[in-house]
């Protein structure tokens, strides 16, 4: 537990000192989403209809941008081999790095999402569902991404491999993330908003729990392999 907090606090401190790395993902998210109204024309109904999809797809891509640096810097400067040799269990070390990654990437995206939703004229009823869906979905993105980031460590030009590995695995999160918001927007009465989105949110939760279980194990195995 002490090692876990040690890693989280160091990664957060590193992120604070290198602010450009953190702000890049969320800036990419905001800039890219704001391009769509310019490309598609200012039609409020159309924009509100496609907003969930655009928010989620862009969020996936923003997370993808930040994945390469998750383990690569530690791999290159020798920190990773020291981590393997340290008393920390590798599984909890992977989890700690994922938590720090989510705090510096997923959380800012979650905070920026309602802003973008406003820009797309999304119904205000759907905002709360959007935030819940992001809260359940973005941790899975960090967890699944960590598996790919560790697997590509030894490979030359691993950065190109990561999207190929990760994007297919992100599809379920995308489907249920968008589905949750769509379900609320199609509902006529405000009272049934949560009920309509519930099944989608539960799937997002299930994906999160499964990746929470698998990612530390797979990540730790991949790290050990990367040391060879």
């Amino acid at each position: 537990m002490k090692a876990f907090l040690n890693i989280v606090s160091r990664d957060l401190r590193l992120a604070l000192r290198q602010r450009s790395d953190v702000t890049m993902a969320v800036l990419f998210f905001i800039l890219t989403t704001t391009l769509f109204p310019f490309g598609l024309g200012p039609e409020p109904n159309l924009l509100a209809r496609i907003a969930p999809g655009i928010i989620w797809v862009t969020a996936l891509l923003s997370v993808l941008l930040s994945l390469e640096r998750l383990f690569l810097a530690d791999y290159e400067d020798g920190s990773l081999e020291q981590l393997v040799l340290s008393r920390a269990s590798l599984e909890s070390a992977v989890l700690a790095k994922v938590l720090a990654h989510w705090l510096t990437t997923g959380l800012p995206l979650m905070a920026a999402a309602p802003l973008i939703a406003l820009l797309f004229n999304m119904e205000s009823d759907a905002f709360i569902i959007l935030i819940i869906a992001m809260a359940l979905g973005t941790p899975s993105l960090s967890l699944i991404g960590a598996i790919a980031a560790t697997l590509t460590l030894g490979a030359r030009r691993g950065g190109i491999l990561i999207p190929l590995l990760v994007l297919p695995l992100y599809i379920p999160t995308l489907i249920f993330g968008v589905g949750a918001i769509d379900a609320t927007m199609n509902s006529l009465e405000a009272g049934v908003v949560l009920a309509n989105a519930k099944s989608h949110l539960m799937f997002l939760g299930a994906i999160f729990l499964v990746s929470l279980l698998i990612a530390p194990l797979a990540g730790a195995a991949a790290l050990r392999q990367a040391m060879e």
């Binding site: 002490k2 090692a3 040690n6 160091r10 401190r13 590193l14 000192r17 290198q18 290159e76 400067d77 020798g78 920190s79 081999e81 020291q82 393997v84 040799l85 340290s86 008393r87 920390a88 040391m227 060879e228």
Partner: protein, 228 residues
Amino acid sequence: MVQSLFTGEKLTCIRGGRTVFTGLDLSISQGEALVLEGPNGSGKSSLIRLLSGLVRPRSGHLFWHGQDVTREPEIYQQQLHYIGHRNAIKPVLTVLENLSYWAGFSPEKPSDLSRLEQALIQFNMLALKDTPANLLSSGQSRRLALSRLLATEKALWLLDEPSVGLDVNSVALLETAICAHRAKGGAVILATHTEIGLDTPQRINLSNYSPLYNTALLKQEHLEESWI
């Protein structure tokens, strides 16, 4: 006869399809030092990584206090320091922050600042303790990496060319540290090209075990291959 701390039997390392060394035996007791010698590519770094458990031997066994630990290096990894070619230093953190991060994995009190400062004093780094590591020269970075040896106490030191980039005075500091470690019953295995002053070290010349330099082994290897 003192019981040996760490023993390797008939160690063979194969990297990228090439036999780096084969049939290597070594044994080190408390208070002893072992110097690995040999020309470039004879497998000094590979042997040190293998002894640290980062790389598993292709064949042969490792014993820690007489217990076979070839398959479970975690048992003894907590009791060794490994200083590789890379210093595991984060450029945006200060000297003291870098050191306290690595010391934070040990079970000792986290706020044991005096111990960290003592380690920095030993390597003449205390004046630089609040300096960001990206301002350090390569010799200073090396000294910071070496301070880890003293920040937490471990029985076995594995040093891969520890004196690279160090000036004469700093090499003397390293010699003092090794001497004190051995006096406390610690063991040191180090690979080096330059002479580091040690009191009656064992020596292993890796070119005797490397098919690249020992043609007798090369013939044997060819025989084995043709047999396969």
